[in-house]
Symmetry: D2
Subunit: 389 residues, 4 copies
C-alpha cells in the first residue's frame, strides 16, 4: 500500500462501536486498521455489556478510561478531549440494526465514520443517513472488503480502459455452505443467530449478507449501475426466518444483462465468490478464493493470468498501489480489508490537509446496496418479472 | 468401455444422413462410432448435393454404390438388401430442421435411429416423433454428449446413493464466445450460419443449442425434472435473428431451485459448461473442460477430487464401465461421445438377442428438451415471472 | 488431424504382434489406429497362446485365417499375399524383451514397423535394430505417446521460434503411485508383473518405463540432446527387482541444465507427467493430465494459457494439425496416440507416392532412449558424479 | 492466531536492526509483528546512514530519541532504560553478513533475538552464534516464513500422525525468475545487488536465499533430517558472482530420498515454491502460491483438498491455531509471517511467566541450514557424487 508523502506526523485515531467477545468482524476490522501502521485504536464501546466491553479493552491493551459504557457516551466524552488525543473516526462493527444509530451519533458528534456493511438495516435508514453525511460534510466509508482487492481494482481499470469493449454480460456466483443446517438456536454460532434474525439483520438473509457483495462488485468493476431485477429467494432450512438462498437475473443501465446467485445453503462451499464479466472483445474472471489472479480472456488470443504484486508493472496505478508484496507472495482478505482502512486514513488526512485522495466506497454505494436488497425482496414476492431498483 | 460378453459375431452397421463437406458434427459422430470397433459405417446420404456426398463417401473409403442421392432413397434401397448386409441403424447429423424427416423415414423403414440433438426443430415435431418411435418399437438415441462422460454418470450415481442428501440447488453455466461477432454471412463459418437461422435451427439460438445441454445435465444428475422457468433471452449482436444469450431461473419437481446461463457471446470463453449441484449434506461440481474430475464437497469434511479411470475402484459401476484408460490418462469429448454410440450398439444387440442393457438417452429426453426450449422462449417474451414446462 | 489431400484410395493395413487378453497397451494401439479411419487392422499374432490369440481375433471381428500362431508365421504368410490384401505394417505391442525380434522379422519381411516404446530391451539391441532399419529403408515408428499431444508440438514450435530465448533449465517430474506396494506376484496386475521383471523389462524399471518419456519430452521440446546424467535410483518396495524410483540431474548439449524425477512409488499420484522449460526470456509448462493447455510465462508480462483446438489460429501448424475439435472440447491420451498412428499411415503413403511428410519419431529416438537408460543405471551404481550418455 | 489466556497486560516491545529506506524485508517484519497486536516497535537502528534511519523512524511515528546511530548504541542505551520501557527483543532484518554481529550484541546485551534467515553468513558463524544463544539462555527465532503457514503445520501433523505412512520421497521445486537478467549494477533493485554479492550474501546465491527454504520445509514436514546431498549449481547470467540456479538430489536420515531445485533464472516464475512428500500409503502436496490448501492423496481413495480456516475442525491443533479467518477468506504470506512473530512474543511471555509454549524455529534450524548450504556448494565443486551434511 503506498501512502501520500505529505502525511502528517501522527497516526489517525480510531474508536470502535461493537467488536466485543464473540464478534467475528470486530477483530478483522482491527487487524485491517493495524496492518499499515496508519491507524491507532484509542477507544471503544465494544459491547452492550460493559463488563465484556472492559474485557475487550483489556485484551487490546487500551487505556481503561477510554472503554465506554455505550456509544453515546463515547461520542460525548471523546468530543471533549483535546484534538491531539481524541479519536478521529468511529469504526462501526455491530449487527446491521445497530449501524444507523452509532453512525448518526458519530457524524453529529463531529467524527468520521467507517461502517461495516450494509450501511443500515433498511433503505429508509440509508437515505436518512445519506442526508446526515451530506449535512455534516464528514467522511463515511463502507467496508465492502472485496472492492479492496488489487485485482478487483485491476478489473475495473481494464473495463474502463476498454480492454474488453462494451460490457454485455455479468455473471456472479456467491455460494456458501455454512447455513446448510439450522444452528440458529444452538448457541454455538453467534453469526448464524443474528444474521438470520429479521430484527437484527433486515428483510433479507442471503441477499443482504452476501448478495450485496455481488451487487457492489458488478457495479464497481463494470462502472455501471444495476437497474432492474427478477429474483427467486428461498428458505431451504426449516424454521429459518430469512432467505438462505437466492438467484437473480438483472439488467444494467447500459444494456448489459446478468445473473447473480447468492446462497448460504450450498453445502460444502466456503466463500466462493466469483465474478465473470464479458464485453464485446473479451472477458474477465476473478475468484475471491484465489484473489491475486485476474483472468483476462481476449477474444481470439490466449487467455492471460494477471498477478498482483509490487513488481508487476503491467498493473493499473490503482491496483499496483493496493499491493504490498512482490508477486507470488500471496496477500489475502485482511490485506484487502486493510486497503479500505488505510485508504480511509488517507482520505481523512487529505481532508485535513486539503489535498485530493481516491474516492471512498461510501454512502452512495450504501444506499444503492439497500435499494438493491429491497427491490430483490419485493420482486421475489411478486408474480411480475421485473422490478426497478 | 466394457461390452457385454454375449455380443454377436459382427459389427453393428450404420448409415448416415448428413455429415458432408464442412460439417462439424458429422466427423465427430463417425469418430465416436469408430472408436470401440463395435460399429461400421456402411452407407450414407451425406449431402443434398450428390457430388459432395460422393466425395465424402470416397474420403471414407465407402462402397460408392452405397452413397445415396438422398435419405429417402437410402432407406428404400437399404431395406431391400439382405439382412447381413444392410444397415442396422441411421445416424442423423443434419441441421435441426432436418432431424425429423430422416428420423421418421428411418423408423418407418425399419431402422433404429441415433440422432444429433435436439431431437427436432419444435416440440410439436418431437411429440409426433415420439409417437412414431413408440409405434415402431425401434430404438431411438439422442446424442447428448455430456451425458456420456464417466464423471457425469458418477455424479448421477452419487446423488442417487444419497451422498449429498436431498438436492436443493443446481447451478449451470454454459458460456461460449464464438458468436461474439456477426459472422453469419461471412461464408467462413457454416456453423454460425445455420445455428442463427430460425428456419434451420428453430425458435431459439443459445438455449436450443447449448441451454438444452444444461437442462439435460441438471435433470440427468439430479434424477429430477425441471418444471418451471423464468427467463431472460437476449440478442446482443446486431443483425442476429435468434437469441445469443440467456439466463434462466428454474424450479425442479422436488423443490430444488436453480439458475442456468447459456450464452454464446461470452467473449474469450471456449466451451465452459459447468454444473454445481448442492444437497442437504454436500455438493458436487463438474467442469466439462476438465471432464475426468468430479469434485465432491461433503459438508464438514475436506473436498474430494474423484478421478475417472479403469483402476478407480471407488467409482460407480456406470461410471467405471464408461472408462477405457487408467486414471491420469485423459479421456475427453470423443470418448464421451463414443460411449453413447457403443451403448447404442449394445442396445441394438440387446434387443436382437433379447437381453437387458442400460437405458438409452432417447426420445423422452428429446421431448423434454424441446418443451424446455419452448417454455423458455415463451417466458422470455412475457411479463409474468414463471412459465410451466 | 488433417490429412494430405493426395492420399490413395484405401486404408493402410496393419498387422499386430501382441495385444492379447490382459494386455493394457494393445487395445490402446488399436483404438489409436482406428480413430481417424486411415488404418485397418487385418491380421495379428496376439499371444503366444494360440487359443488366446484366436479369441482376440474373434473379439476384433478379424478373419480367423489371418490370426497367426506366431509372428514369424505372420510375416511369412502375409508376405505371400497379393499386395492389395497383405498388411502394410506391423504394430508391436509386446513386453520390452519381445520388441526386437518381431521388429527385425517384420523389416526383413518387407513390412514397416510401429513399435511400442522402448525400442528394445537394451542399447545393444537398439543399435542393431537401427542397422536393420537403415538397411531395409523401411519406416520405423516409436509410440512416444506424449509427443503426439498438440500442445507438446506447440511447445517445441515456440522454443524453435525463440519465444523463450535460449533454453537454460528443464524440469521434468513424472510421479506415479501404482507400484507403491508389492503386487508383482498377486496375479491381479499383469503390468506390474512384467514391468518389474528384468528379463522382460530390461535393466531399469521406473526409468525405462516412464523416465524415458521425460527424456524424450525434454529433447523434443528443447530441440537439444541430453549429454550427461547424475542419477540416484532406488528400490523402495521390498522384494522388487528393479528400481521403482529415480531422480536425475542432467546436462544438455547447449549448456542447459535440468532435473528429472520418475517414480512409481509416489503414492496417490496417477500419471503426473509435467515438464517446465525455461529460457532467457520466458518459460513454458505442460501437464499431461491437462494436456490441452500450454502455459507460457513471458518474462515481465502476464502468464498465458494457450489452448488446443482447430479454431485456435495462434497455434503453430504442427500443433494445429494435431487437433480434431474446437477448443474446449477436450482431446486426450487416445487422440495423442492416434496422432502417432495417423502420422505413420501418412508417412507410409508419402513413401509409396513419393511426397514429403513430417518426420517420424523413430529409431534415432529409440537409440537415444536406450542410451539414456544405460547411462542412468551406470551412474546410479557409481560414486562418480557425471556419466556421459 | 490464538493466544495463551494468561498473557501479561502489555505488548512485547521490539527494537529493529535494518529495515531502512529501500529494504524489502524490513517492512514485512514490521507488518507481521503488528498484525496481532502483541508486539510494539519501540526503537531501531534502521540504516548505517543515520539520516536515513531517522527518516524511517519518523515514517513509523517513533520517538526520535529511540532511533539509534547504530546497533551497538541501541543495545547499550536500551539496556539502561527501565524494564517497563526498554525493548524485549531485537528483530534483525539486515543483509546476511550483518546478522551475526547484531545477534551476538543483542544476546549479550540481554535481549532476545528474532532474525531474518539465514541465521548467519557462514556455518562457522552459525555455530558460534549457537554457543552464544545457549550461554545466554535467551530466545532466538529465525523467520522461516513458510513454516508459519497453517497448511505446512497441517502437513507436518499428518506425517507425524502416520497419515501417509513411512516417508519415501520428497520433491521440492522453488523456481523464481527475478534474476533472469543482470540487474546487479542497475541501481534499480537493491535486492539483486546484495543477494548476488558474496561479501554480503555468503557462498551461495540461489541455494542460500531460497534453497534453504526448501531444505527447512522438507525437514519440518517430514520430521526427518537431510544427511547427504549431490548438487549441480550454476551461474547462468553472465557477470554474476554467485549461483543463480541449482538442482540437488538428497538423502534423509530415515531412508527417504528426494530432489530439490532452487533457481532464480526460471523466467516468468514468481515465487513458485512447491513441496510434494510421499509415504507408503499416500502423498501430500503444498503450493506456496495457494497456501490455504493442502492436497492429500491417500492411496486408492479420492484426492482430498484440505482448507485452512478457523471453522475447519478437521485440522490439527497447530494448524488450527495458526488461522485467523474462516475458510474461503484467504490468508497469505504476511499472516504466515505474523504467526512467527506472534509465536515469538508468546514464547517470551512463556519464558517470563514460566509456562510452556510451542517450540520455536531457532538456532538449531539455523545451523542445519548453513550446514546444508556449505555441503551443497562443496559437492557442486566436486566430482564425487555424495557429500555429507
Amino acid at each position: 500500500m503506498s501512502f501520500n508523502q505529505n502525511k502528517s506526523n501522527r497516526r489517525i485515531k480510531m474508536g470502535m462501536v461493537g467488536g466485543g467477545p464473540g464478534s467475528f468482524i470486530g477483530e478483522i476490522h482491527r487487524m485491517a486498521a493495524r496492518l499499515d501502521n496508519q491507524i491507532e485504536l484509542v477507544c471503544g464501546a465494544f459491547s452492550s455489556d460493559h463488563q465484556k466491553s472492559k474485557q475487550t479493552g483489556e485484551d487490546l491493551f487500551l487505556d481503561p478510561s477510554r472503554v465506554y459504557e455505550n456509544y453515546q457516551h463515547m461520542m460525548e466524552i471523546e468530543a471533549q478531549l483535546p484534538p491531539e488525543q481524541r479519536m478521529d473516526f468511529v469504526a462501526i462493527v455491530t449487527p446491521n440494526h445497530l449501524h444507523y444509530g452509532p453512525a448518526v451519533a458519530a457524524l453529529k458528534g463531529g467524527f468520521h465514520v467507517m461502517s461495516d456493511k450494509p450501511a443500515t438495516v433498511s433503505l429508509e435508514e440509508a437515505l436518512k443517513l445519506r442526508d446526515v453525511v451530506n449535512e455534516t460534510g464528514l467522511l463515511y466509508g463502507l467496508s465492502h472488503t472485496y472492492l479492496g482487492y488489487p485485482m478487483v481494482k485491476q478489473a475495473r481499470a481494464m473495463v474502463t480502459a476498454g480492454d474488453i469493449g462494451q460490457v454485455r454480460k455479468i455473471l456472479v456466483e456467491y455460494p456458501q455452505g455454512w447455513l446448510s443446517h439450522f444452528e440458529e438456536n444452538s448457541g454455538k454460532n453467534k453469526q448464524s443467530e443474528w444474521r438470520t434474525d429479521p430484527a437484527r439483520s433486515g428483510i433479507s438473509g442471503s441477499i443482504g449478507d452476501i448478495g450485496t457483495h455481488g451487487h457492489s462488485l458488478a457495479e464497481y468493476i463494470s462502472g455501471d449501475v444495476m437497474t432492474e431485477v427478477c429474483a427467486d429467494l428461498n428458505i431451504f432450512v426449516q424454521g429459518r426466518k430469512l432467505d438462505d438462498d437466492g438467484s437473480i437475473i438483472f439488467k444494467m443501465n447500459n444494456g448489459a444483462r446478468g445473473a447473480l446467485t447468492a446462497s448460504q445453503i450450498c453445502a460444502g462451499e466456503e466463500n466462493g465468490l466469483t465474478i465473470k464479466i464479458y464485453g464485446e472483445s473479451g472477458g474477465l474472471e476473478w475468484h475471491q478464493q484465489q484473489p491475486s489472479t485476474l483472468i483476462f480472456k481476449p477474444l481470439g488470443a490466449p487467455m492471460q493470468f494477471l498477478s498482483a504484486g509490487v513488481d508487476k508493472t503491467y498493473l493499473s496505478a490503482e491496483a499496483h498501489s493496493a499491493c504490498r508484496l512482490p508477486a507470488g507472495h500471496p496477500e489475502g482478505y485482511l490485506e484487502a480489508f486493510a486497503n479500505l482502512y488505510t485508504g480511509f486514513a488517507e482520505a481523512i488526512r487529505a481532508l485535513n490537509e486539503n489535498y485530493k485522495s481516491h474516492d471512498l466506497i461510501g454512502i452512495e454505494e450504501g444506499v444503492r446496496g439497500m435499494a438493491f436488497v429491497e427491490a430483490v425482496v419485493k420482486n421475489s414476492q411478486s408474480d411480475q418479472k421485473w422490478t426497478k431498483i
